[in-house]
Symmetry: C2
Subunit: 247 residues, 2 copies
DNA sequence: TAGTGGTCTAGACCACTAT
DNA sequence: TAGTGGTCTAGACCACTAG
């Protein structure tokens, strides 16, 4: 049935198995609630050891596609979670995934010394150099958010020579500076638009806005970016997926 | 050094190793950026196989305590993430973890047929029976949020005979109905307080509020609860921790 | 009692990195 | 070249669940 595994591929066997099972689930060949093949059965079918199958199944579980009951079996989860999930994408990626066309107006990009709050976020000495970036973020040419970003200058020298109107900041950080976003802490609160923000976003003073503060870290837990984004409440909603820390 | 493993314990060896290493990291015996013992070294030290050590290390990585570089080694991550993380706790647990005393005023608890939106969230037939619960949530006796909750009636019969002023809803669902919260989808938006909500929360009409819509699921992905919570913006902020799906 | 997932072993080979 | 993490094997025993 599924001896499609290429043992000479760069892709590990467990990843190939994960992929194959994902496809079967999405194609409806394995349906919600229905009993899934057991680990031993899959091991035989794919001609691999049980530990290898297991690695694939643990991945599928942590992705929410299957669940497992000790002594009973493995089952396809009965409903897909609609994941607009606020994963680690930036504004551009997020808008694209919503089917909108993102653009930016760079209002400011300067090199300055870090304020206290920023130094704390980025784990820097009080007077370290940072880039201070202010952008108006548009979706389909309508103002969506006003964003202030701080980046440690020593991590991305010459950032001020890059055209941020066109390029996604996250793409630049990844490709030009080899900074890989790994995780982030976000806090969200509701507020009333100040005069300045209201003017930028073309809304009334005092209208509700969603304020998101985000610090992004590398895998080594080094802070990369501190950002403060104010969204129009009438056009934006943040979606999250929460789960227990599964292995 | 660490032959503290109890092989007769109910706790798996890998979990014991995870715990032991966690303690060493938190005690500062293994410091940020410093080289961690290799898998082979740990296997020898704990007298277990490398695969068992590996299971512990993968867990520590997914918890953000360590990071690993292929061909190089394992390292302690250089800063603890302050996790006010919005994990799967309910209002009561969340307030307690913030050092506040939670309480509730139950404004309504009725059994009714599900509205369309609710039926959709809970994956029910249009006219299925649900419990409709409305509560004013207080922290240190100050109004903090107004919450409307819907629960499928067949999952928690006789819910209306429970005293929700004292007990945490999540505790009741877990203990009395054996409903284990496993994951949830949340969406957050900013809004202006309506006349009704403003009166409940003792704020001005039009003041900013944070509106959180949450659907909680079991491990089998069965919807358990659909909730709509309106928080005072001046007293509440939601915090999230985002990461890539690591194995 | 038979089958399941969870745990564990004692090896092995690989690609990668640093020296 | 030596050491690392990533992958993989072919077994084994356990606790648990269902018929």
């Amino acid at each position: 049935m599924a001896d499609i595994l290429r043992r000479d591929s760069a892709m590990p066997l467990h990843a190939q198995i994960t992929e194959a099972l994902q496809l079967q689930i999405k194609a409806g060949e394995l349906k919600a609630g229905e009993n899934f093949p057991s680990e031993r059965e899959l091991a035989e079918r794919f001609s691999v050891s049980r530990m290898t199958v297991r690695q694939a199944l643990l991945r599928l579980r942590s992705d929410g596609l299957i669940y497992r009951e000790r002594g009973v079996g493995t089952f396809v989860a009965n409903r897909k979670i609609d994941v607009h999930t606020r994963n680690l994408s930036g504004f551009s990626e997020e808008m694209i995934s919503l089917g909108l066309t993102p653009s930016s107006r760079v209002l400011q990009l300067t090199r300055e010394t870090a304020a206290e709050r920023v130094a704390q976020d980025l784990d820097l000495e009080p007077d370290a150099a940072v880039f201070h970036l202010e952008r108006l973020r548009l979706a389909d040419d309508e103002p969506m958010a006003f964003e202030t970003t701080y980046l440690s200058a020593h991590l991305c020298p010459q950032l001020d020579s890059v055209d941020l109107t066109v390029n996604s900041l996250y793409e630049i950080l990844t490709e030009k500076y080899n900074l890989q976003m790994h995780h982030a802490a976000e806090s969200l609160e509701a507020a009333a638009a100040t005069r300045f923000v209201a003017a930028q976003l073309d809304i009334k003073i005092g209208a509700p806005v969603l304020v998101v503060h985000r610090v992004v870290y590398s895998e080594a837990n080094q802070p990369i970016e501190s950002a403060h984004t104010t969204y129009r409440a009438d056009r934006y909603r943040a979606t999250f997926y929460l789960s227990k820390n599964a292995l």
